[in-house]
Amino acid sequence: MAKMTMIEAVRSAMDIMLEKDPKVIIMGEDVGYFGGVFRCTAGLQEKYGIERVFDTPINESAIVGMGVGMATQGMRPCVEVQFADYMFPAYDQITQEAARIRHRSAGQFSCPMTIRMPTGGGIFGGQTHSQSPEALFTHVAGLKVVQPSSPVDAKGLLIASIEDPDPVIFLEPKRIYNGPFDGHHDAKSVGWATHPLGEVPEGYYKTELGKANVFREGEAVTILAYGTMVYVAEAAVKETGIDAEIIDLRTLLPLDLETIVESVKKTRKCVVIHEGTRTSGFGAELIAEVQEACFYHLETPIVRVTGWDAPYPHAQEWDYFPGPKRVGRALVETVEA
């Protein structure tokens, strides 16, 4: 066991996979000599050589498109999109190509590629360094969509993603790269070093894709969350004193509906939270499934606490971010309804 930040955990996963499987390569903008703008690949080029870890031109479609070519040839590219906000030029390659190669070729070709991208706001990045586009991936059959909330999960899930036979979108909540963040931007931040989920095994291990984690057990209401919002949920629970069950989805697609339904049938109430814009966000999908599966158990409407339907603002970041106050209010309203 070692203390790791989420950056170190992600790096450790790539390090282990580069070591273990010669078919793994890492590429992306600034990931080579420099080691990535978030330092996730620092030292890897030096250790494995420029043929295994290298810089790419600033063209996300090329990054993913080359990745598709490599993956169909038999390699296992793990590519980085510098910010999730910059995945849009690659959206065609991701959704129409990577996601479909296996199906449309009836299995002749497959695309075992991992596409890492830092996601979410809370770092004063403005509208082009803050977006949470997960719902744009969950609508796409053929993709898997993963978002860890801690170093220990990040490493295990990234190894599982790289080894997965199908394309995986791996969303890294950048606000908690260095430590959990409860949504109180004015509070002192604490690093992963002091958090139990910053304890990470040094060697190889996998955290199975498609399995949610009951982050906190509770009876009063089920909170569905992922990434940074898990800690916001935790803070809201602490502050309201409501005994909520917090489910950290970890994998959004395929979704672990079983764990969710079991919880909601128990608590009979559900609050869904995410940072992305509300309309057609992933919360909508969660609500659609939960209300269908748990309709006769539900005592109150399922509510969403989300980013507003507007571009992520710079100065008003904390008015935009769905913090523990807003989540707490939703919890109280739901529990008292």
């Binding site: 498109g65 040839q73 190509e97 449309r104 395929p254």
Partner: protein, 410 residues
Amino acid sequence: MPIKINFPTPSARPGETPDFSRYDFPEPGALPVPPLDITAEDTLEYANSLIRVLDDDGNAVGPWADYLGEEGNDDVLLEGLRDMLKMRAIDARMLNAQRQGKTTFYLQCTGEEAIGCAFQRQLNKGDMNFPTYRQQSLLVAGGYPLKDLFGQYYQNENDPLGGRQLPTLHSAKDYGFFTISGNLGTQYVQAVGWAMAAALTGTDNIAAAWIGDGATAASDYHSAMVTAAVYKPPVILNVVNNQWAISSFNGIAGGTAATFANRGVGYGIPSIRVDGNDFLAVLAATKWATERTRNSHGPVVIEWVTYRVAAHSTSDDASAYRPKDEADAWPLGDPVERLKQYLIQRGKWSEDRHKQGEAEIMDEVIAVQKESEALGTFINPQYLSPSAIFEGVYEEMPEHLKRQRQEMGA
């Protein structure tokens, strides 16, 4: 003073006289064979001229003919002619079959047969084409079973893709034919990645990317060009300039501003321009390009100049936007006729043998077609498992797809 801008228009529209005077092609044999490690800059003359071997009298002339040598011997060329005839027979039969409602859709490659048929001959086992929908000649010349081809056209139990794809969007890994995307351009850069992987994993395989003149405008053309210029992987970047993109002439893709090969030079990639209706020129240029890439000299752009004789597809009516007789006016002629003339001239072929050959090949094609039709066509569709919809979305079917399959009742 108001500023003027430009809206390119083709030289002739329906009712007007076809006009290709914008082209000034050199005589066959005019260009030398450059060294394999030529720089991009030095290919500029090749990019703005045209590599040709067959002259108007059916002679093979010039340095490229010599360079081709035994690889262009009569046996090879006779086989090549047969491949082209087979391709043309399939085109004819499938146009008919679509008109009869037996398939939903077909795309002819008439007039462009030489490109795929000659190119494919120069590839090795393990090389990979990233074709467009108009490169079925690569499959035909590569020995892909006609049974599989027709199976997909008719979407019956012989369809290797189980009905998932349009009839013309094939996938044949074992024949070096990548799964075709309907989205233009995307595969050009995939070919670059594949070629990089081929090199990185220590093979000596190369990739061949294919794109139409119209689709060079697509973003991923650029993705491919930049990455090929940077990493110099073993990839041949083919541009099939057949003058038209559905109803848009190639000026709408920038083709009147510069040649497509010239654009390659701009990126710093050695680029040549070749008469695509000249089987020997295609064979020779491909020999050069494959040798170059296989010997670690990096990528090469080839602009194949040709003409799309048929309508864009069976959904299209070309007479609505171009002169009916434009194909006849095409200055580079017909690839089948030109190769035939050459072989006759050499005493290896005759008009009679040609007729006979055509008939034999047509019979062969019809025989397979009939067999395939017996298994079901779109008039008489045979049950293809609906649950194939859910298979292969992922390697392992996740729960939600199992639930949906159940909901479907399949």
